[in-house]
Amino acid sequence: MSLISLQFTVFFLIVMIVYFMLPAKMQWLWLLMAGGVFYYFNASSLQCIIFVIFLILNYAASLRITEGSRNPSRVFRTIILFDVIMLMGLKYTDFFYDIYRWITGLFGHGINEGIYMKVIYYADALCPPRISYFSLIVMGYLTDVYWGRIKLQRNPGKFALFASYFPLMTSGPIVQYEQVSGSLWDKKHEFSYERFISGAQRVLWGIFKKLVISERLAVMVNEIYDNYELYPGLYVVFAAACFAFQLYTDFSGLMDIVLGFSQILDIPLPENFNTPFYSESLAEFWRRWHITLGGWLKSYVFYAVQETETMRKFRKFCTKKLGRKKLKQYNFPQHIGLLISWFLIGLWHGGGGNYIFGVGVYMGLVIIISELCQPMLAKLIEALHIKTRCFSYTLFKRVRTFFLFIFGLSFFRADTLSYGFSMWRSAFSVFNPWIFFDRSLYSLGIDESEFHILLFSMLILLTVSVLEHKYNGVGNPTEDTPCPQMEHVRTLIRNQNFIFRLLLFIVLFIMIICWGHYGSEFNSSDFIYGRF
C-alpha cells in the first residue's frame, strides 16, 4: 500500500475518523491496530511473523536489561548483536555473499551459484519490509534504556506502537523514543481544523515534489545513467545534479507526506531535511540532509565508538605522541569514529561498494580532509585578502559543497562502484557545453513542454526554499515545531485570507493532477528510500 494511492487515502481517512472519535485510552491502541493492518498489507505473512518475533524478543530483552538479569550488559550486547545480524543477514545478504565469493575467488575456489541464488531468494522472502528503519528505532531505544537515558516502557503494546507507528513504516524518519513517546499515548488527541488543513497542505506539497518534479527528473537521469556511453561529458554532470534534486524531492517529498499525515493525527515527528542545498560545507550538508539518520548514528554509534576502551587507549597514545595541541588539531581518534559512522551510513544505504564509497567513506573523507585543511585554508584566505563575509564567498562555498555532494551521490545511482567511476571517466573525456544550448536536453525522455513544466515546478520549489532559508534561525526548535523555519513558511501561508489559501492549494492540486507522473505509465508509488 503506497502512500500515494487510493487505498492508503481510504485507509488513512478511516483511521483518522475513528481515531478522533475514540477516548484517549483507546487512541494509541487504535494506532497500533492500524499499524498492524498497514504492515500486513505491505508484507507477506511470514515477514509479519518475523517482525512480531523481532518485537517480542526486543521487548523481552528491554525488560531483562532493566530488571531480572544479573548481567544486563550481556543481555544488551546479545540482543543488539541479534538485531544487527538480522538486519545484515536479511537485508545485505547479497553484499556479504559477494564478499564471500571474492574471498573464495582469491583462493581459487568458486561458489555454487545455485545455492547463492537460493540464499538471496530466501533472504529476500524473509526480510521484513522497512527493516532498516524499525531495527534502528528499536536498537536506539534499547541503547537508551541500557544507558538509563529513558525509562523502560513496560507496556508491550506501547512498545510495539513505538516500533511500528504506521507513518514511520514507510521511510522513517528514524525517531528516538523521547521524540514521540509524549504524543503517541500520553495525551488525548482532538481533531483540529487548522492542523488538518496544515497537514493536508504538507501532504499535497510532498506529492507535488514527488510526482511533478522527482518523477520528471528521474526520466532524464535514467536515460543518461542507463546509456552513459551515449551521453559523455557534461551530460554526466547534468545527470548527477539532476539525481541530487531527484533524490531530494523524492525523499523530502516522502517526508512531507509522512509528517503531514502524522501532523493531522496530532503526532509531530522530527524533520529530516532543513534546506540542505544552502549548506556551506559537506559536514553542514549532512546535518541538514537525512537529519534523523545522522542523529541516530551520532547518538548511538559515534559517541559509543569514542567511549570504547580501545578508543580511550588510542586517544591516550595519540596525546602522548603528538601532544594535546596537535591532537586537538588533527584529532585522529575522532576521525576514526567519524569514518566508522560514515562507513555505516554507506552500508545502511545498500550492500554495495558504490553505496559504501559514494554516500559513505567518500563523504567522511571529504569532511575529514576539509577539517584537516581548515587551518591551511584560513592562512591562504588571509594571504590572498579574500573577503569571506560576502554573498559571493557564501555562494562559492555552497556551489563547492553542491559539487562535492553530487560527485559522491552519483555513485548511489550507479549500479556498481566501477560503473560510477566509468561514468566520471566519460564525464572528463569530452567537453560539450553546447548540449545546454542546442536542445539536446529535450531528447532525454522528456520533451520541451515537459522540460518547461519541470523548470517552472523547480522555480516554485526554489521560492519555497528561499522562504524557508530566510526564516532559518528564527525561533527555536520545540517538540511541536522541530523545524521552526518551515513552520514560519506555513504560518506565512496560514496568515493569508481563506480564499487565497484555498486557491493556492487548488492550483497545487490541479498541477499535481495534470502534471504528475502517475498512472499506468509510471511507477510513482516507488520511493527511492522506500527500499531500505
Binding site: Y193, F509, I513, C514, G519
Partner: protein, 489 residues
C-alpha cells in the same frame, strides 16, 4: 462568553472544512470530466445515452465496434422510423455488455435488446488490454455498476488504479481542445453510430462448412448467462447477432456456434449474418472497410436488412414526426450529410467532375467558388447545367470573381479573388474568409458563432489554386465541418 466564542470558531471551522473539501471534490470532478477521453469507441456513446429522453429508445444495440460501426441509426430511422441507440464500446466483452445493459435499463425501457456476440471470437481473453477497459467503462456514471464493471474488467493488481479514471487520462492535458471542455459528441443527437470509411476489397469468407464448437471461457459463459437472465427478468426480448466481417479462423465461427447453442437452450432468437451475405447484398469487394468492419456502403445494406427484421418481428412503432423523437431526425440528417461528405470526397478523388458538382447540390452545404481572370468556361460543357443548379450561371463565369453559393443561389459575389464575408444559414452566423498569396495558393477559414461566441471551425486551410480552373471549397452546416477544396478545368 468564551464558550460562545469557542463554539462560533468551531462552527466557522466546520464551514471552512466543508468548503475546502467541496472545492477539492468539484476540482477533481471537473478535471476528470475535462481530461476524460472524448472517444467514440465507447465513452461518448454512454455519455450521449444519458442525454436521451427517458423511455424513447426502442431498439437498444449492445456490444462491440460491430455495433457502432455497423448499425447505422440514421438508416433505421429514415427507413423504418425505429428509434435506436448503439450503446457499444470497442471489443466489448460480455461482462461489460452486461453492465451496459444494467446501465441502459436505468433510463430506458427498450422494446428489444440486440446483443452483438462477436468479441469472444475476435478477442478470446478474460482480460482486455487497458485501453479497451478504459473505453468500455469510463463513460458510465460513477455508481456501483461502474465499480463492478471495472472490477470485473481489470486484473486484480490494476483494479485500484483503473478505478480512478485520472490515472489513465491525466496525460491528456497536453492536447486539450475545445471538444474537451464542451464535449460536443456526447450530445442528445448522437446515437452512437460511427462509420468506417475505407474500402478494402476482400474475398467473402465461406463458413458454411464450419459446424464445430469451441468452448467459451468460464467468464464469458457466466456473463452471457447473466445477460440472458437479467434481460428475461426485465421482460424485454433479446436478440443475438453475429454481424458480417472477414472471419479468418474456424475457431471464431465455432465460438459463435457455441453461443447459438446456448441461445437455443435458453430460447433466445439469433441471426448469424455471416451466413446471409447474399440476402443482404453485401459485396466484399466494395463494402468492407478493413478486416473487422463494414464501410458506409456495407453498413447501410446491413442496417437496412436488420431494420426490416426488427420492424416485422418486434412491433416497433414508427416514431417519425413525433416531436419527442426529433433528435433522431437530427441524427439521421447528420448521417445523411456525413454520407454525402464521404461521397463528395470520393467523387473528388476520382476526378468525377459531374458527380462532384451534382453532389454539391444540397441545401446544407455552403460553397465558395473562385473564378480566375479570363476563365474560358469549363472544358466539359455538360458541367454548365450542374453549375447552374448550384446558382452559378454561365454569365457569372468571368473572372476574376468569388461567389458564395447556398441552396442553389448565389448569396454573395465579389470581383476580388479574396474576401471576408458574414453569412447566416438560418441557425447561426458564419464568417468566411479567403486569402490568396502571390503564388496563387489560397487559404480559407470558416468561423461560426456557436454558444461560445465565434469559434474557428478550420484553421486556415491551404490549397493550390492553379490558373484557368474553377476552385471550390465546401462547408457543411450540419456537420459543422469543411469538406476541403477542389478545382475543375
Amino acid at each position: 462568553m468564551s464558550d460562545k466564542l469557542f463554539s462560533n470558531t468551531k462552527r466557522i471551522n466546520i464551514i471552512k472544512l466543508v468548503i475546502v473539501l467541496a472545492a477539492f471534490f468539484v476540482t477533481f470532478i471537473t478535471l476528470d470530466h475535462i481530461l476524460l477521453l472524448k472517444s467514440k469507441d465507447g465513452i461518448s456513446q454512454m455519455q450521449a445515452y444519458y442525454k436521451q429522453p427517458a423511455n424513447t429508445v426502442d431498439a437498444l444495440f449492445v456490444g462491440s465496434s460491430h455495433i457502432f460501426c455497423h448499425v447505422n441509426t440514421g438508416v433505421l430511422w429514415d427507413e423504418y422510423g425505429i428509434s435506436s441507440f448503439d450503446l457499444a464500446a470497442a471489443e466489448q466483452p460480455f461482462w461489460n455488455s452486461y453492465h451496459y445493459i444494467v446501465e441502459g435499463l436505468k433510463t430506458q425501457k427498450p422494446k428489444v435488446i440486440i446483443l452483438d456476440i462477436t468479441t469472444p471470437g475476435i478477442r478470446p481473453t478474460d482480460y482486455q488490454p487497458e485501453n479497451w477497459v478504459i473505453t468500455n467503462n469510463y463513460g458510465i456514471k460513477r455508481d456501483p455498476n461502474r465499480y463492478e464493471s471495472i472490477k470485473v474488467s481489470a486484473l486484480k493488481e490494476s483494479f485500484p488504479r483503473l478505478l480512478v479514471a485520472l490515472n489513465s487520462t491525466h496525460g491528456k492535458y497536453k492536447e486539450l481542445s475545445e471538444e474537451d471542455f464542451m464535449n460536443y459528441s456526447a450530445d442528445v443527437r448522437f446515437k452512437g453510430f460511427d462509420a468506417r470509411e475505407t474500402v478494402v476489397p476482400f474475398e467473402a469468407p465461406d463458413i458454411s462448412g464450419i459446424t464445430g464448437r469451441y468452448e467459451l471461457t468460464e467468464k464469458e459463459e457466466k456473463y452471457l448467462l447473466k445477460i440472458i437472465d437479467y434481460v428475461k427478468k426485465c421482460n424485454i426480448p433479446l436478440l443475438f447477432i453475429s454481424s458480417p466481417y472477414v472471419i479468418t479462423t474456424d475457431e471464431e465461427q465455432e465460438k459463435y456456434n457455441t453461443i447459438f447453442d446456448i441461445a437455443d437452450e435458453y430460447g433466445v432468437p439469433y441471426i448469424d449474418f455471416n451466413r446471409l451475405y447474399d440476402e443482404m447484398g453485401i459485396d466484399f469487394s466494395t463494402d468492407i472497410a478493413e478486416i473487422l468492419h463494414l464501410n458506409r456502403s456495407g453498413n447501410a445494406k446491413f442496417t437496412s436488412y436488420l431494420g426490416q427484421y426488427l420492424a416485422s418481428n418486434y412491433g416497433l412503432t414508427d416514431h417519425r414526426g413525433d416531436p419527442l423523437y426529433s433528435s433522431w431526425d437530427e441524427d439521421a440528417l447528420y448521417q445523411r450529410q456525413d454520407t454525402l461528405r464521404y461521397n463528395i470526397l470520393m467523387a473528388a478523388a476520382e476526378g468525377a467532375n459531374g458527380k462532384y458538382l451534382d453532389l454539391l447540390n444540397n441545401r446544407n452545404l455552403v460553397i465558395f467558388c473562385s473564378v480566375p481572370n479570363e476563365y474560358p468556361g469549363p472544358e466539359d460543357t455538360s458541367l454548365v447545367q450542374y453549375l447552374e443548379q448550384l446558382g452559378l450561371s454561365e454569365d457569372m463565369l468571368t473572372g476574376p470573381s468569388s461567389y458564395v453559393l447556398s441552396g442553389g443561389q448565389c448569396v454573395y459575389s465579389s470581383d476580388e479573388p479574396d474576401f471576408k464575408i458574414g453569412f447566416s444559414d438560418g441557425n447561426r452566423r458564419l464568417l468566411f474568409s479567403k486569402t490568396t498569396d502571390d503564388n496563387g495558393n489560397a487559404e480559407t477559414l470558416v468561423r461560426t458563432n456557436g454558444s461560445m461566441g465565434y469559434q474557428c471551425i478550420t484553421p486556415y486551410e491551404s490549397y493550390e489554386m492553379p490558373d484557368n480552373v474553377l476552385s471550390f471549397y465546401v462547408y457543411d452546416t450540419v456537420l459543422d465541418k469543411t469538406i476541403g477544396g477542389y478545382s475543375i478545368q
